[in-house]
Subunit: 385 residues, 2 copies
């Protein structure tokens, strides 16, 4: 941990209920928040795998009514949020509950914003633009990665502008996050990898963020350590202990990035996701090493701390460890069999300039440890090409 | 970190605002919670040192009215809580704000309980007995130790029964904790030591608690490390960086014990504090080593992890490290010049039986890793004599 004088810092997380089978508490939690009619947000995949019905059954056992909204897909759209908010208000629901990966949870956050504040979701793009309270929220993450169940971030795609809007506000931290690692047993290998790498990127970017604090740094380092130690075992053997450790890692990374912010990697990932409908987690193996290399001159000690964890050698000096960590991560991603170059997912270089331009204005770019202008962001894309 | 199958676990902490000068945000925070007339709880010491007036000035600058209640002393009494609650209701205040060590904060929690639920404070002794919501609360700790600004614990002395009641409830976690390490510069050496050792005891007891979780364990270990590394420098040189690290340690220990509970040491400390009006933190150097020795057979691996941090040797096997850690702590406490034997603070052995009897029923005893009946508790007292 690097010691230095600190500015005033804030740290806010939801109440967390964690453990195998913890989903069963969702009814009591909703009731504790004053629910009579729960607005349940999820998606088609979770309907098919039976988890949506399971939640509905638990709510009914607690004598709670529910209204279901499942019109959400990966990278949720602005219109899906406004349709959801309209339905929430029309049906007189009182608590918003989402079960899903980052997409249904972000959609639920967007719905909560509009339900409590009106207007259109683009009105709230950026940091601290939500002024009125939201309905109470409970989130059940079904992937170990997005951290959206913990965070004050909400990412919604603006269809017309072809970009993902970052909406950041203290009031987006839910009341309760219920994290049940048993759900991970039903997830595909690809989704487990993409989610874990998203969590790893959250941890790395927030650890070196301009506004990291001792409260976030400890969580970031822990997430990196747990992911490096458990991902392979979780994926290859679908080992429940290892999957549970990935859930803990994702939660820790969520505590970190929610309060410390992210960086240029997520700024680029949001723009890329706005232009092309790509699984968010699969963007990071491509971008993260190049972003780390760009950032190292601004935070060599911290990159060294990350490197020592990644390489697994506590005695390595920072300069060497920073270098070695990036290389080991590059190989690690390649071994996982995911795309590791931008050319693997884009048809040609032509979108790169638009990509860099859109990323420069993303709210995540503000906390990047090294100033990243359009030219620097284009350089990162070129390195990742 | 010891890995084992986990039950469902809960983790709840307040929103934290941390940093030098962060006190200045207290007015905005109160306003955010809907305040118009703040009920301010503190004590004579903080009036004299000027901090109460400072808070009043900040509230006034935010155009907030305040009602002051300062009739609180060390180990706050049941009648002080009921008087405070009566005043809160009579004056139509709407947010409860405490500035102080554990005593004013615990008194404020008691006042909040009665303001929201009525009855007498003894009605709420034990775990989860508060059913109705409390007024919003903001706490500003002025010591780095009690953790009461973070925790779901409230300790109030029952004058008639001569014991400290442990009241434990999720609803005692405040809305906001504002932690300003600058305040520590005005504190006595004795208070800094007593507070830091209280935080150390919170960390050690909660780390080995029956209901510790990965979310609490990481905070406990970190608190132990920071206290061992910074206490001497903070006390001898009144170094602000070291004092700030003690604040972080106390906050981390608070996150841990609030969610994992404590053990036999705090059960004994509460009984001792109920029978004799002793500064709470000064009880732990006497009790903690004996409690650790008693508990070791039930949690040798974890005592080993504590020992390795205390001794500062990462390579020591657990059995040796557990032993060595206890001995190093014993010497460390003695070097700090605080009482280290029960005979230093009690006139004779005659209260020991009553002490052990009262402790066995304390709520903290439920989470001790090794069952501690009256006889075992008497044995711990004898070892500490």
């Amino acid at each position: 941990m690097v010691k230095r004088p600190m500015n005033v810092t804030k740290f806010a997380i939801p109440e967390i209920i964690f453990g195998r089978g913890s989903m069963v508490h969702v009814g009591q939690c909703a009731r504790r928040l004053g629910a009579r009619r729960v607005f349940l947000v999820s998606d088609e995949g979770l309907e098919k795998s039976g988890w949506v019905e399971r939640v509905q059954t638990i709510l009914e056992a607690e004598s709670l009514e529910w209204v279901y909204y499942g019109d959400v897909n990966s990278n949720p759209r602005d219109w899906q949020v406004s349709h959801g908010a309209k339905l929430y208000l029309e049906t007189g629901a009182d608590v918003i509950l989402a079960i899903g990966g980052g997409s249904p949870i972000d959609a639920a956050k967007g719905i909560a914003i509009l339900a409590g504040n009106g207007g259109s979701i683009a009105d709230y793009e950026g940091a601290n633009r939500i002024e009125r309270p939201l309905p109470p929220t409970i989130f059940l993450p079904t992937t170990a990665g997005s951290g959206s169940d913990i965070s004050q971030f909400c990412i919604i795609t603006d269809v017309e502008r072809q970009l993902k809007m970052s909406i950041i506000s203290r009031s987006l931290v839910p009341n309760i996050s219920i994290i049940d690692p048993l759900i991970l047993l039903t997830k595909s290998q690809e989704l487990i990898i993409a989610s874990a790498i998203d969590a790893l990127a959250h941890a790395v970017e927030s650890y070196v963020s301009r506004i990291a604090s001792p409260f976030t740094e400890i969580q970031a380092l822990r997430a990196i350590e747990l992911i490096m130690r458990n991902l392979r075992h979780a994926v290859e053997d679908r080992d429940l202990d290892a999957l549970e450790q990935l859930s803990i890692a994702s939660t820790a990374a969520g505590m970190s990035f929610s309060n410390a912010g992210l960086g240029a990697g997520h700024a680029l990932a949001h723009s890329l996701g706005g232009m092309f409908d790509i699984l968010h987690g699969l963007v990071h193996p491509i971008l993260l090493p190049a972003v780390m290399r760009f950032n190292t001159p601004a935070c060599q000690e911290k990159m060294g701390a990350i490197g020592r964890l990644v390489v697994g050698r506590a005695d390595m000096p920072s300069r060497l460890a920073a270098e070695a960590g990036i290389e080991v991560l590059r190989e690690y991603f390649a071994d996982l069999g995911v795309p590791v170059r931008l050319r693997d997912i884009l048809p040609d270089r032509s979108p790169l300039a638009q990509l860099a331009g859109a990323s420069a204005g993303d709210a995540c770019n503000l906390t990047n440890p090294r100033q990243a202008d359009v030219e620097s962001l284009l350089g990162i894309c070129e390195e990742a090409w």
